[in-house]
């Protein structure tokens, strides 16, 4: 997916402030942070939106949440708290069409969530 920004980050063709990487997932700091801590966790596989997930991706989505938990602990926001958000399509506010989980913390998050 040469045209996908996040695939290019996965391929290390575009730099990012990577903080965690394993065989299936990559995590890096959002370039337009909305909180003191704002990390994106993405599958290395190109999946455009939540709507494109197949049952075979179930474990991968679970791993994405477990990774967020691990990174929150690593960054010291586990106890005070944090918010996870995934946007789908226009009304959800999705801007890059490669699934990404937002991990936000380091400040009080408000309600509603946007």
């Amino acid at each position: 997916m040469d045209s996908c920004l996040f695939c290019q980050i996965v391929a290390k063709k575009i730099p990012a402030a990577i903080i965690d990487e394993d065989a299936h997932l990559l995590a890096f700091h959002d370039i337009a942070p909305q909180a003191p801590i704002h990390v994106l966790i993405i599958p290395k596989e190109h999946i455009s939106t939540l709507n494109d997930l197949e049952p075979t991706h179930t474990e991968l989505m679970g791993k994405m949440i477990m990774k967020a938990q691990k990174i929150a602990a690593k960054l010291g926001i586990q106890e005070k708290g944090y918010r996870l958000t995934i946007n789908c399509n226009r009304q959800g506010g999705q801007s890059v069409f490669h699934i990404h989980l937002h991990l936000l913390g380091g400040r009080q998050m408000h309600w509603p969530p946007g």
Copy 2:
């Protein structure tokens, strides 16, 4: 967990507008909706926060996301879009200490997510 509101909903001791149920998950409309569609998806097992997840819960968390995808389609907001949010602890805005995934749609969601 007699003191947990969501465990009591799972046990059908407290009513809720349930829209989906299987062996592991329950979904119902939020009683204080923040969008035209605002559904909560919870594991039937009592897990207080994201911090309490064990590796054995990986599949369950994946199923929770797949369930959100299915419900978004069922409610007709799949194409226009939707947002998924999970709060953890105080700064994340968690109010009920039983993990729940918020599915919001039916209006334009804004940025930042709270």
